[in-house]
Symmetry: C2
Subunit: 119 residues, 2 copies
Amino acid sequence: MRIGELARRTNVSERSLRYYEKQGMLTAERTPGGHREYPEAAVDRVIRIQELFAAGLCSEKIVQLLPCMRDTDGGPSVRATPNLVAELTAERARIDRMIADLIRSRDTLDEVIEAARVP
Amino acid sequence: MRIGELARRTNVSERSLRYYEKQGMLTAERTPGGHREYPEAAVDRVIRIQELFAAGLCSEKIVQLLPCMRDTDGGPSVRATPNLVAELTAERARIDRMIADLIRSRDTLDEVIEAARVP
DNA sequence: CTAGAACCTGACACCCATGTCAGAATCAAG
DNA sequence: CTTGATTCTGACATGGGTGTCAGGTTCTAG
């Protein structure tokens, strides 16, 4: 598929898709004229990338991480180096803290919303 | 307490504390010489602010939200307007999605970490 | 009184994913 | 071929909290 369709299906702007490619997170074939041609699996990959961004990972980490992920088509995956594993473990801890924070914030909102609802 | 101590105790830079004040999220008495003097409750408040930032709320929303929160000292709290409630409800939904995303990313990391551990 | 620590204001820089625009080339359908 | 939709590259802008520095004032212990 081409970039417009991928953008529509993932809800990610074309701008961002090109950026992902430049950062090495996403690859695409090219038509003779130079237009990008994505495989079906790109949809899943882009969604993963977005999730990882939302989790606070930077492009660089994602670039290292992606080849170690089990591919959607069950293809072979690269094994993470011990160093990368250490970094990812730290990221994991950070994500845990982030989730805990989010839950506290959600509780705060709930409290305010509830207080406004009850007379 | 003064700004240095508050910064130390909350792990938030003095720069940010002054920024919070300028945005109207935090108030402080002043010594005759103009130095900020915070009450004990400021510690909790700053931590709350940080959590809300982490949850993706902008200063403006936080400013509206803070007076509606039950104060640490159980003081009286302002009631959220219907309009604010609507906005907070939307924020709450966004936080829920964010949490779901984070859990997926954490699972992704776990998978990669586990795959590297097992021979 | 004095030295040094702490604090003040204001301004500029940064991050980094994303938005946006311009000008040109490609693609697909008539 | 023509035309309109899509895509291309490159460059500049944005946001919003935070870092940092400069130059000056205030506080506090000795």
